[in-house]
């Protein structure tokens, strides 16, 4: 199970330390550095693969994945409204859940590697594809298509945010440099991937646990949503993966991507575009509940789902 993986244990260490109100605190610049390294590592890896096999069918797959990023939030929105969430809050929540978490993706990469399961190396491309559409859907759901939305500033925020720039930058550098060009970068970005991820998750544990304080305020409906939504989305992601003919590892990765919820790009974008939505509601759900759920329970479960689908279909 996922629990014996050292990176998950690092997460639990941070989580527990924070719950026990330990003095442990990592410098903010270290977290920044780690997230930059992980984003570039994921981008580079995908880019190298694109250099080997960029094709039209990949473009078709990307369009299908993008469609999933639009449809899932549209389906979840009315459900949240039924559960009594205000319109802006529901829209913000589905934007977080339709988008993706690179941290969760990184843990899934490490998990599959530890299990010796290969997946299509170009999958980081889908991380990029899934990051933005749900944010646009969320904004339109919250406000309709109104003139007073500052689309120019929003576009800047969406497409020039840190994670998109580093992911696309890494993809392009990997693509242009190719496998041999990237080789000298391997020690830092690929060999050290797991140690970097472990430190990153230590900090994520501290942050995730600090979100739990506000959980009491939002109660059961939020907890139910934050655990059920990833499960439902993962089934949609796995189904799409099978339909696209991905390998077992690829299906598990796409299920993980669909199940993950953003906690960096989307909160910042929604705060500016839909300021009336309560930011701590979405962040508590995605960071406090869904992220821990996915890396401890979800990812092993999504792999089993992929293996079960491969065995039965």
């Amino acid at each position: 199970m996922g629990l014996s993986d050292p990176v998950v244990l690092f997460f639990l260490l941070g989580f527990t330390a924070s719950l026990l109100k330990s003095e442990l605190k990592l410098p903010a610049s270290l977290y920044e550095t780690l997230s930059i390294l992980l984003l570039l590592a994921i981008g580079l890896k995908g880019g190298v693969e694109l250099a080997k096999q960029a094709s039209w069918s990949l473009l078709g797959q990307s369009v299908a994945v993008l469609a999933m990023g639009v449809v899932l939030p549209l389906l979840a929105f009315p459900l949240l409204r039924v559960f009594g969430f205000a319109r802006a809050d529901a829209a913000s929540l589905v934007a977080h859940y339709g988008s993706v978490s690179v941290g969760t993706f990184a843990v899934a990469v490490a998990y599959l590697a530890a299990q010796g399961i290969v997946f299509e190396e170009y999958l980081p491309l889908f991380v990029v594809v899934l990051e933005v559409p749900a944010i646009l859907v969320g904004i339109v759901l919250a406000k309709g298509i109104r003139r007073d939305t500052d689309w120019k500033a929003l576009g800047h925020e969406l497409f020039l945010g840190k994670s998109i720039v580093l992911l696309i930058g890494g993809l392009l550098i990997g693509w242009i440099a190719g496998p041999t060009g990237v080789k000298p970068l391997e020690p830092l970005f690929f060999t050290l991937f797991k140690p970097l991820l472990a430190l990153f998750l230590l900090e994520m544990g501290l942050i995730a646990a600090s979100q739990l304080g506000s959980l009491k305020r939002y109660g059961v409906p939020l907890v139910v949503f934050a655990t059920l939504m990833p499960l439902v989305s993962s089934v949609a992601g796995a189904g799409l993966g099978v339909a696209l003919g991905l390998s077992v590892g690829g299906v598990a990765m796409l299920a993980t991507l669909a199940a993950s919820a953003s906690y960096i790009a989307v909160p910042a974008a929604m705060r500016m575009a839909v300021p009336e939505a309560n930011p701590s509601l979405s962040l508590t759900a995605s960071l406090g509940i869904t992220f821990p759920f996915n890396i401890v329970i979800g990812i092993p479960l999504y792999l089993q789902l992929a293996q079960w689908l491969a065995a039965t279909l």
Partner: protein, 100 residues
């Protein structure tokens, strides 16, 4: 050295507003400003600065009373409803009148 009366406008708000705030200050004609990271606790809970969207900033502008009031009104109108923001004026004495 002779001193001159000016007004110090201090704004403490969510870090996410930094860019918009700078645009507004520029538009309204603030002569200059200083921004620092901040953390603390207020009506909207603990702002720990432990996370990108959870940080606060503290913006200081020294200018004449009228402009300070204008900026405060603008902020009130645009951001008070949905953002964590505190804003206050205080009298200060400056040495170079032409600078502020």
């Amino acid at each position: 050295m002779q001193t001159h009366q000016r007004t110090l406008l201090t704004v403490i708000c969510e870090a996410v507003l930094e860019h918009k705030l700078e645009q507004a200050l520029e538009k309204l004609g603030a002569p200059g400003w200083t921004i620092a990271d901040a953390r603390g606790r207020g009506g909207r809970g603990v702002r720990s600065a432990g996370w990108d969207t959870e940080g606060n900033i503290r913006v200081e502008v020294i200018c004449n009373r009228e402009l300070a009031q204008n900026i405060a009104d603008y902020l009130h109108e645009h951001y008070y409803a949905n953002f964590a923001m505190v804003c206050y004026l205080s009298a200060v004495e400056v040495f170079r009148a032409d600078k502020f």
